[in-house]
Symmetry: C2
Subunit: 132 residues, 2 copies
């Protein structure tokens, strides 16, 4: 498990996702102030194009540099505002989801034997895994 590589990849995915959120924000703002421009940016921002945030920004600079500059500013603002909350949100989100999956699975495994509801699903799974 190459944690450093995974952290790098995750950071890149996050940057592209925040770029996408910045584009959505700018489109929403333009819808209020300049609908034709919003319509143009919506059309430019196809799903394929926006997958790679940096390539998207580079392409946008060729077409409408004022919108490109604006998206840079908005994504920097977004990263400053929300990044600090993410570690706790992600950790607790995963812990809660995991607990729920384990509980559901435990209920499924014990549905014909309610008296066994205190057994540890991880242990029984481990032994199944070894025997397979």
């Amino acid at each position: 498990m190459d944690l450093k590589q995974i952290a790098n990849d995750t950071s890149k995915v996050l940057i592209s996702y925040l770029t996408y959120q910045a584009v959505r924000t700018v489109i929403a703002q333009l819808n209020e102030t300049d609908p034709p421009r919003a319509f143009w940016l919506q059309g430019f921002s196809t799903k394929e194009r926006i997958q790679d945030g940096e390539a998207y920004v580079q392409a946008l600079f060729q077409e409408r540099q004022d919108l490109a500059f604006r998206i840079l500013t908005v994504r920097e603002h977004l990263s400053n505002e929300i990044c600090d909350f993410l570690p706790e949100m992600v950790r607790s989100g995963i812990q809660q989801a995991n607990m729920q999956h384990r509980r559901q699975q435990l209920e499924r495994m014990t549905q014909f034997d309610p008296s066994a509801s205190n057994s540890n699903p991880e242990q029984s799974t481990g032994s199944e895994s070894e025997s397979s």
Copy 2:
């Protein structure tokens, strides 16, 4: 700009991405110890399926619960190991990428007038945006 909603959405995307990284990690481990099982998990983990981490785990529990439990454990481990580094990585990543885009664009705008290289691209863009 609904920062709370954006933070929630970003956290969900991150959790799904860490689930994907957990699946990749488990496949790599199985490739060493149990290649047929690795092959099976690879086939099960299609791109469409893995887009939604929770639905993926739920489907996997129906097929191979030991692998599902293992992926839960690995993604929790990943989140504990890398989440704390992400805010700084993302913030500095965006700042660096933005600086690079702005410099490139500045060079493009001033390529016929080297003496103007101290002008502020954001300002000139702002006025263009207003006049359009």
